[in-house]
Subunit: 132 residues, 2 copies
DNA sequence: TAGGTGTCACAAGTGCCATAGTACACCTGT
DNA sequence: ACAGGTGTACTATGGCACTTGTGACACCTA
């Protein structure tokens, strides 16, 4: 029913995990623009979390511009505003962290870039499968 | 005195920030294998944190194999064991997260790889400056 | 009208984090 | 031997974020 699952990660907030899983579902094509997003209470029931936590998920995704709220109806997946005017700076912290961690593991830059490309294509390859 | 500083990040534990700053200092050559690492109390004083928190930093870095403890003497920076037997799997979570966030911002894979390379070289270029 | 939708508010419980203080075993100087 | 510096361990406390719990409201559709 819900187009994504999650494997509980200890230490990271459940709400953030669900948000991440939802984004992944969107960018991999399991949730396409126009599709109805699970309601707060439906999501809460499916994810075995509290309705209040599910509400935070919806609010977060809405704030990120990935969901649009139809009052009284529900929420719908929208196409990201594609606002990237020098937003690369927002990733600086994450890029730096990934770099340091890779260096610690003795991984080369090329290997890291390869892993990144592999992960990238792994998400995009399912992009045309709306026929479940 | 202490070969690294940190810019307080709200929301992330101070201990983790110091650990990250220390690692960055190591991989950028500001701290080379054989150098003495600041003592618990010195680190606590310089970073304006509690000695107990500084102790956690030392413990973390030691557990990561980046520091070696000489009982009664102090801690010394050691060369990472370079143990990378399929450890690329440890980065999977971070790679996936960075990928999704980049997609959300509408950044292309090539741009992301470019940012990564830039950050990488930015750390390595200072690698020969021990003449301080 | 009945039911489903998102939204908000308040309280209680839990756990992590940083601080605080104290103590111990170890080694190196003099 | 001694004093001083080192890492390590323990308990306790206050603050903060997270989750859950419960209830309520305004909105829309059938």
């Amino acid at each position: 029913m819900v187009p994504f699952r999650l494997i509980p990660q200890p230490g990271v907030p459940v709400a953030d995990q669900v948000v991440f899983a939802a984004k992944k579902a969107m960018f991999s094509g399991k949730l396409r623009p126009g599709d109805a997003f699970p309601s707060v209470r439906t999501l809460a029931g499916a994810m075995k979390i509290h309705a209040n936590t599910a509400q935070k998920v919806i609010a977060q995704l809405t704030a990120d511009g990935l969901l649009e709220v139809r009052p009284g109806i529900g929420t719908v997946v929208v196409h990201p505003p594609a606002a990237r005017a020098g937003r690369g700076r927002l990733l600086a912290r994450d890029v730096e962290q990934l770099t340091v961690q890779a260096m610690q593991l003795g991984i080369t830059l090329e290997e890291l870039q390869g892993s990144l490309a592999e992960c990238w294509r792994g998400l995009q390859k399912e992009d045309g499968h709306h026929e479940r």
